[in-house]
Each structure stands twice: as structure tokens, then as C-alpha cells.
């Protein structure tokens, strides 16, 4: 039935009277509901509640750190399907391809995707197989809201929360029986089927969500063998069961299952020969998350939670000519975490949060050279003190201590304050420490990439014995770096300051501003350590760089007319390697003009900064929403300014990616080549009927902007149409 809906929508124009008759759904229309939109409009006028910033439910306005919220209604109007679709349109978030040019991760305050913690209902998503997390794994049909906290949050969440935290809050069961089914079809034969059912009876609530997404992929460079993104299909199932154990005790059990399957073709270079291969890729993840909440009194709430999750991926390639296996790669990760935390209201002005937990992690992968799992554990405890001496002033302080089996211990404090100068101006400031522990691949890799030229990567735990072994076998041609200087990896650390506030320029015209400075130490980089007699490089990892990211973010929102909201966001970003800045200042960095071959000294104002960071990014969005006629529309322009590209070893289609550097100094300066800035225009229109039906059409990337070499994860123009049906009955009046 859903399929029929989809095909009908595609061929039908928006003609209101046509729908109900065409689809013979009058029986649904009889049971027409009271406008849910009016309800949601009412809730929106209440203060929005966010949990990520303090681990407790707090109203947005009372929080002293930069927090942002993307509500479900907005996600629906935008017509987004996957997490990356939503995040790419938020100010200060840039969706960037992963190492191999495929997939997408999020860059926040100029940090690479590895440095933002991504949570579902407060629990981390794992599977950072190449460092960054693949955002398209997350379907968003069951999302209530997305909370974004900027600035380091290691004081509450531990490792990986240097740049910030993105927490996806999922739906739970609503009173009565509710359901929603939707189907969407669009360019590249992309079909998305989604459904959820929620039943609440007495003390028991059940929420189930299912999604199937399939696409034919796309090909930005048809002259190459294989597609840029090959066809794939995935399924997501989520469930959340809530049970009121007693008047003071709640229990919830959440679970997720995800599976993706992809078939692809590509050409590999083996001893300078181009070989056609076919392959399959499979990704699976699941998690289980039981949570007990008990209120001992109105003052004390204790939460006991357990989370276990498993991620697994496997890639196989075989040669097209004889079908023989050519390459195999697998990766399996488990993460288990029990945690206990409590929130204690001493009185209305003093709140204390305490927590402690244990994390156990195991990774098993073909890339470690054997079938043994590698384990790591962390014990941690955190505290937070919220002081609210008056309505105008909030102070939040806290810290977390992490003790890890392989990289020692870390203490991450944080202090934030908010002051309401007057009704129109609120100031916020926060400072804190963030860290990221060395990941498994940096410690244990024992990997030769036969699919990409045969280079090897050895983790720091095994690099010395492996090199000694290779040396004994006479396989080392020369050393590029003294291997005895490779020590144990230290956690990467940042210290950050965020200062900003909210100003009401006109009634209902508000502007939010946040200036940030992140000082990062001990950045882990790859280090070429030796060359084999076969001429192949061996890499390992080393703490080397010091860097900073600094900038300013502003958001303006203006409901300029009834039902219309215009918003604009902008981020200015400077991200630089501190050692390079110092070297340039000392006059030790040079560039050779590629046309005249004359070498000159680089001046401080000529150093542009780190690769892959745009100095300017921004967006302009117009939303229309009519609560009575239930028309919704949006027009969004997303801009990313020019940026530089480092030395990337080709993309998955084997194309060389010319790096920015064109004057032989391996750093990005103003004379280098940049990837051009671009703007994407996305449009959507939707109409809901009282009978629960909703129709939507839209187009993303209206002007079909593509950049096959540098931005392979950006498909061209995508048009889509969708239809959904929403029902609810036996609603208990609140």
C-alpha cells in the first residue's frame, strides 16, 4: 500500500481535492484527528528542554553553554532522511567526506569528525572504523529532536567530546495508540519506507520503528569503472519499551538493529596494472539499553543504565576476470557500559549531579594481523554542581576523571556561567578541557593496503617489533624516522573558551553569537617511518602537532510575518597549526613560485591554515508553516566557502586528487589552489490533511552542483515525493 502511495504522489500534482478521492481513503478521513500541528505549535512556545548540556533536563534558555536544538517539526519540513541531511544544514557544522572520499562525517568548530561525540539517547554510537562516524547510518524517522552542544564536554562524557556533543533524542510512546507510515521515492531510485507504532496501556508503553532505505547510488565520473556511490540497501529497527514499575520508579528498554548491504565495482592498481574488481560491503550494528530511574524523594533522582553495542563491517573484493578473491577486510567492535548517576536538588538554587561508570571495549579486525580481539577499559567518575543564586545568573561547574587501561588517566574540568544583563541581553561564557584517547587503530594496526598501492600502517604498540622483524628479513630499504623515537601515544587534549550571548534586537528578532577558541595539544598524525625494499612506505602514528581553531558563530532568527520564519547563520573560522605559525613567524617557511621557480620566504599573513577548513560557512533558511491550512514549505541555502586539500592518496575510484599545495612547501598558503566555495539550494513543500495524510515534494541541490574529484559525497540534484499517513486513537487527554 505504501508503495502505491509513493508512485501516485510522484505523478500527481498538488491538487487538494484529488487526493482523498484518488486514493480511496475516505475511511481514514472519517477518523480525522484534531490538528497535531496546533499542539506542536503550542509546545514550541513553551521553553524547549535539552538534556545533553548537563545530563539533566534543563530549559534551553537557562543553559550557560552554546546549545542548539533541531526539533522534529523542522526535520520533517526539510524532508530529511538521514542524520547527515539534517546536520549539514546547521550553522557551524560542515559535513565532510571520510578519508577515502566516501561517506560523511561532521566537522564542528573546525575539528575533524573524530572529535565530536555522537550519541543516541545519551549513549555513544560506535563504529569509527576510519576515525569518523558514518552519519548516514542513522535514520531520523524516529527522532524527537537533535541536541548540539558546542565546546568540549569531556567533563560529562569523557573521550571524543573535544569539539562538542551531538545527541539524538529518540521518540518514546505517546498516550493512546499512534502510528505513522511514510514512503518516499526520488532520484537515483532512492526509496525510503518508514513506519512507527506506539502503544501505551496503563503502565506499559511500546514504541517500534522500522526503516528500509535503498538507493541505486550515483556516478559523478562515468568515465571511471564503478560508481561513485554504489547501490546499497539498509534496514533500521528501533524499539523502546517503557514501564512504570512503581510511583517512583521507571524502567525503559531501548534497542536498535541496523544492517546495510552494498555491491560495488572498482578498479585497483596492482603492480602498476589496472584490475577490475567487484565487491560487497556489509555493515551491521545493534545495541541494547535498559535504564532504571528511581526518585528516592523530590530531591534525589538516581539513574542506573546499561548499554551494550556491537558494530561489524566486512568488505570483500574479487577479481572480475577469474572471480578469485583479491581483498578481504573485516572489523568488529563491542562497547559495554554500566553507569550509575544521581541528581540531587539540595534546594532550588543548588543542584549536584554525580556519576560513575565502567567502559569495556573490544575490537577485532583483519587489520590487526590476527584474529585476536584487542581490549581496553575505562573507569570514570564525574561531578557537576549547578548554582542558581538568582534567575539572572547560572553557574555550572564540573569535572570528570577517566582512568584508562592503555593511555593512563585524564581529568577534564569545565566551568560555565550565564548572566542575564536585562530582558534583551544574556551573556554566556564557558571554559573546559576536552580529550580524545588514542583509538584502537592508532595502537594496534598491522595492515597492508593491497587495494590501494600496498602501503602499510603499524600501530604504535607493534611498530617496533614489526620493524625489527622486517629488518631481520631484509625487507627494510631505509628508515625515514628513527623508530626508537616512537613512544607511547598520549591522549589528544584541548582547552577551550566559548564566549557569547543572545540579544533581542527587535521583539522576536533574536541574534545569538558565540566566539570560540580551542587550543589543541598532542594531535596524533601519521608518521612515515620506513620504506621497504619493494619501495612501499610504512607508516605509524605519533603525537606531533599543536593547533588551534578559533572563530565566531552567529545565528539570527526572525519571524518577519505570520507563519514565516527567516533565519541566517554564519561561521567565521581560523584553524591553524601552531608550529607552522611559529615557523612562519621565525621566517623558516618558504615557497617556490611555480612559474618563476624563485623561492621566497612566506609571510605570516600568507599562511592560510589547516586543510579542509572553510573560513566562511553559512546558511539562509526560510520556513513557512500554516497551522490551519497545514501547508508547510521551506527554502534553504547552504554555503561552504573555499578550502584547501592536503595530500590524499586518491579517492575510491582511483582518481588522483590534486592537492592544494602548488609551491613546494606542503602547507596551505594564499598562493595555493583551493576547492571553490559553493552554495546548495534546497526546497520543499508539504501539505497535511485532517485525515492524517501528508504529502511532500522537494528538491535538494536545485542547481545540480557537483565536484566529482573533491566532493564525491555530494550527489547532484535530488528530487523526491513522499506520502505519509498518521493515525492515533484513544488519546488520553493530558
Amino acid at each position: 500500500m505504501i508503495l502505491i502511495f509513493a508512485s501516485v504522489t510522484l505523478r500527481t500534482q498538488f491538487a487538494k481535492p484529488l487526493f482523498c478521492t484518488l486514493l480511496i481513503i475516505s475511511q481514514f478521513c472519517v477518523a480525522a484527528q484534531v490538528s497535531t500541528d496546533l499542539d506542536s505549535l503550542r509546545t514550541r512556545q513553551l521553553e524547549e528542554v535539552i538534556v545533553t548540556a548537563t545530563r539533566n533536563e534543563r530549559t534551553m534558555g537557562s543553559l550557560p553553554m552554546p546549545v542548539f536544538l533541531v526539533p522534529k517539526a523542522q526535520i520533517k519540513t526539510m524532508g530529511s532522511l538521514r542524520l547527515n541531511d539534517v546536520l549539514t544544514e546547521q550553522t557551524g557544522l560542515v559535513v565532510v567526506p571520510q578519508v577515502n572520499g566516501q561517506g560523511s562525517g561532521i566537522q564542528l568548530q573546525g575539528f575533524n569528525p573524530d572529535y565530536t561525540l555522537i550519541l543516541i539517547d545519551g549513549e555513544p554510537i560506535i563504529g569509527r572504523y576510519t576515525g569518523s562516524l558514518e552519519l548516514s547510518r542513522i535514520a531520523i524517522g524516529n527522532i524527537k529532536q537533535i541536541e548540539i552542544v558546542k565546546g568540549p564536554s569531556s567533563s560529562l562524557y569523557g573521550s571524543d567530546a573535544l569539539a562538542g556533543v551531538i545527541n539524538i533524542i529518540t521518540d518514546r510512546s505517546q498516550p493512546g495508540t499512534n502510528g505513522n507510515f511514510s514512503s518516499r521515492y526520488g532520484t537515483n531510485k532512492t526509496l525510503d519506507l518508514s513506519g512507527d507504532v506506539s502503544v501505551t496501556k496503563d503502565k506499559l508503553g511500546i514504541y517500534l520503528f522500522g526503516n528500509r532505505y535503498s538507493t541505486d547510488g550515483y556516478d559523478l565520473s562515468p568515465e571511471n569503472f564503478g560508481k561513485t556511490v554504489s547501490p546499497f540497501t539498509n534496514q533500521t529497527f528501533n524499539s523502546k519499551i517503557t514501564y512504570k514499575v512503581g510511583p517512583k520508579t521507571d524502567f525503559s528498554l531501548a534497542g536498535r538493529y541496523f544492517k546495510e548491504y552494498q555491491r560495488f565495482n572498482f578498479e585497483v592498481t596492482s603492480s602498476n596494472e589496472q584490475i577490475k574488481t567487484s565487491g560487497t560491503g556489509e555493515v551491521k550494528d545493534w545495541n541494547i539499553n535498559p535504564v532504571f530511574t528511581h526518585r528516592f524523594s523530590t530531591k534525589l533522582k538516581v539513574i542506573a543504565r546499561f548499554y551494550t553495542t556491537h558494530y561489524q563491517t566486512e568488505t570483500n573484493l574479487s577479481l572480475d576476470n577469474d572471480g578469485s578473491p583479491y581483498y578481504h577486510d573485516d572489523f568488529e567492535q563491542t562497547f559495554t557500559r554500566p553507569e550509575l548517576n544521581g541528581e540531587y536538588f539540595i534546594n532550588s538554587k543548588n543542584i549536584i549531579t554525580l556519576g560513575a561508570g565502567h567502559v569495556g571495549e573490544t575490537v577485532k579486525t583483519s587489520r590487526y594481523g590476527d584474529e585476536n580481539g584487542r581490549n581496553q577499559w575505562t573507569n570514570y567518575a564525574f561531578f557537576q554542581y549547578e548554582w542558581l543564586p538568582m534567575d539572572k545568573f547560572t553557574l555550572v561547574s564540573g569535572g570528570r576523571f577517566d582512568s584508562n587501561s592503555s593511555y593512563g588517566s585524564q581529568f577534564s574540568p569545565k566551568l560555565s556561567a550565564r548572566y542575564e544583563v536585562n530582558k534583551r541581553i544574556t551573556l554566556k561564557a564557558s571554559t573546559g578541557v576536552g580529550f580524545k584517547s588514542p583509538d584502537f587503530r592508532q595502537l594496534y594496526f598491522n595492515f597492508s593496503n593491497s587495494a590501494a598501492g600496498g602501503y602499510s600502517v603499524l600501530g604504535t604498540e607493534i611498530v617496533q617489533p614489526r620493524l625489527a622483524e622486517l629488518e631481520a628479513q631484509g625487507q627494510i630499504q631505509s628508515y625515514l624516522f628513527d623508530p626508537t623515537l616512537i613512544g607511547e601515544l598520549q591522549a589528544e587534549r584541548s582547552v577551550a573558551v566559548n564566549v557569547g550571548g543572545k540579544i533581542e534586537i527587535l521583539p522576536s528578532l533574536t541574534m545569538e553569537v558565540n566566539g570560540f577558541y580551542n587550543s589543541i595539544n598532542n594531535l596524533i598524525e601519521t608518521q612515515a617511518v620506513a620504506i621497504t625494499t619493494a619501495g612501499q612506505s610504512i607508516y605509524t602514528y605519533r603525537n606531533v602537532n599543536r593547533a588551534y581553531t578559533s572563530g565566531l558563530e552567529t545565528n539570527v532568527s526572525y519571524p518577519f510575518a505570520r507563519n514565516f520564519t527567516l533565519s541566517a547563520g554564519y561561521q567565521l573560522l581560523y584553524a591553524k597549526d601552531k608550529d607552522v605559525v611559529q615557523d612562519v613567524k621565525d621566517g623558516n617557511v618558504y615557497y617556490r613560485d611555480p612559474n618563476t621557480l624563485v623561492t621566497k620566504r612566506l609571510q605570516p599573513n600568507e599562511y592560510y591554515g589547516l586543510y579542509n577548513r572553510s573560513r566562511h560557512t553559512g546558511n539562509i533558511k526560510l520556513f513557512y508553516r500554516h497551522p490551519v491550512t497545514k501547508w508547510e514549505a521551506s527554502a534553504r541555502i547552504i554555503y561552504r566557502g573555499k578550502y584547501g586539500v592536503g595530500d590524499i592518496r586518491g579517492n575510491i575510484q582511483g582518481e588522483t586528487i590534486p592537492p592544494s599545495d602548488r609551491n613546494s612547501n606542503s602547507i596551505l598558503d594564499v598562493y595555493d589552489d583551493f576547492v571553490k566555495g559553493y552554495a546548495l539550494v534546497n526546497l520543499s513543500v508539504a501539505k497535511s490533511l485532517n485525515c492524517g495524510l501528508r504529502f511532500q515534494v522537494g528538491v535538494d541541490n536545485l542547481f545540480n552542483y557537483t565536484e566529482p574529484i573533491y566532493i564525491p559525497n555530494l550527489p547532484g540534484r535530488l528530487m523526491y515525493g513522499s506520502v505519509s499517513y498518521n493515525f492515533s486513537k484513544n488519546n488520553v487527554k493530558p
Binding site: E273, S478, Y479, L480, V589, L597, T599, K600, R601, I657
Partner: protein, 216 residues
């Protein structure tokens, strides 16, 4: 005056900015010779004849170093490899000096950061020699991207002489020379691409023919 030591092999338009600098003479010392910046173009460093389409390996390579003398500014025959007639040798990206385990001379090298024109004097010591038994660097000028004179750009798949790297040589017979490598591709291509013909050095140098460390 030893004008025969100042020999320009080829003159090239933009590159031949001849920095002819005369130093002031002191009465009590012999008049120092003026030194001159010379540019050598397209010195073939065993580039081979092409690529075998069947196995992708370079064809026609000899694996012999092209030997060069700063004094004459000319290539020295391989037959003279056991003599001190040559100072440095080039074989694709590897550079040897006539000293240590590579030759019978006294040659050594220092890789120095700086601008060619600003380096006015050769350092007194610190000259590395080739040592084929070393586990860290077998050559006075370390091989590998970013270690010696070049950076390999894996994205574009080209060899780029690192900007601001100047090679200071002690020659086979204890004289000094400074060298800046400008290009590794035939014709000193600006913005080379990986299809350009590699293995051809273009470099400029200053040779001090007298017993002096001065490059003035």
C-alpha cells in the same frame, strides 16, 4: 682568476639571474675570487627511456649515478668514479657525495633550511657522508619524502623540490658549493604533473673554487 671554473652550462631566461657579487678586498689577504651562481638544466639522473606498458616498470634504466663536478660544471664519466674528479652523483631522487662509502673523495653534505641568496658562508663542520651501513640514513642527503631535498606529493604523484632547502656541499677536494634544486622534471616544468618526464634535475649553484667558505 680561474675563469674556467665559472662555466655556465646553459643560460635560461628567468633563471639566469646572475648574482655576480664581488667582495671587498683586504690588503693583507689574497684577492678573493668572485663567485657566480650557475644554473644547470635537465641533468639526466638515470631517467630511463619510458615505462613498460606490460609491467609498469621503467625501461632502459642503468642504475648508474650521473656524476657531476662543481669545479668544471660538467658531468664526469662513470669510468672516473673512483677518482676525486666528481663531487656529487644523481640517480633519480637519490644523491650521493664523493666521500664515505660512496667515493674516495672528501665530499660531504648538509641540508640547510633557508633562502639560497641568504646563505653567504658554508658551515665549518657538520658535513654528513654517505654510509651504506647506517640504519638511519645511508646517504649524506637523506632519501625519502620530506627528509632531504624533495617532498613526494602522493595526491598529484609528483616529486617537488622542497622550497627553502639548500644543499651545502664540501667537494671531493675540500672546496664548498651551495645548491638549490629547482625541478625534477624535464624542461623544468612549472606545475609538473605525473605524466611529465621525471629524473631530470635543474638546479642552481654557487661554487667557491678557493680555500674559503664564503659564497659571496
Amino acid at each position: 682568476m680561474t675563469m674556467n671554473s665559472i662555466k655556465s652550462l646553459l643560460s635560461i631566461g628567468l633563471l639566469a639571474t646572475m648574482a655576480v657579487i664581488f667582495t671587498a678586498c683586504k690588503d693583507d689577504s689574497p684577492a678573493p675570487d668572485p663567485v657566480i651562481a650557475t644554473t644547470t638544466t635537465d641533468l639526466a639522473a638515470d631517467p630511463g627511456t619510458g615505462i613498460d606498458p606490460n609491467n609498469g616498470q621503467p625501461t632502459g634504466i642503468t642504475n648508474k649515478f650521473t656524476l657531476f663536478s662543481f669545479k668544471t660544471g660538467e658531468v664526469v664519466l662513470n669510468a672516473d668514479s673512483a677518482t676525486t674528479k666528481w663531487d656529487v652523483g644523481f640517480r633519480r631522487t637519490t644523491i650521493i657525495v664523493n666521500g664515505g662509502t660512496s667515493g674516495s673523495g672528501a665530499a660531504g653534505a648538509i641540508v640547510k633550511s633557508g633562502l639560497f641568496d641568504e646563505i653567504l658562508e658554508a658551515p665549518a663542520d657538520g658535513y654528513a657522508v654517505d654510509d651504506k651501513n647506517s640504519t638511519t640514513s645511508k646517504y649524506a642527503i637523506p632519501t625519502g619524502s620530506g627528509n632531504g631535498w624533495y617532498t613526494y606529493d602522493g595526491g598529484a604523484q609528483v616529486i617537488k623540490p622542497t622550497a627553502g632547502k639548500v644543499l651545502i656541499f664540501k667537494t671531493a677536494d675540500n672546496r664548498y658549493a651551495k645548491v638549490e634544486i629547482l625541478s625534477y622534471y624535464q624542461g623544468a616544468k612549472t606545475n609538473p604533473v605525473n605524466t611529465d618526464v621525471a629524473g631530470y634535475y635543474t638546479f642552481r649553484y654557487v661554487y667557491q673554487p678557493n680555500d674559503s667558505k664564503s659564497f659571496n
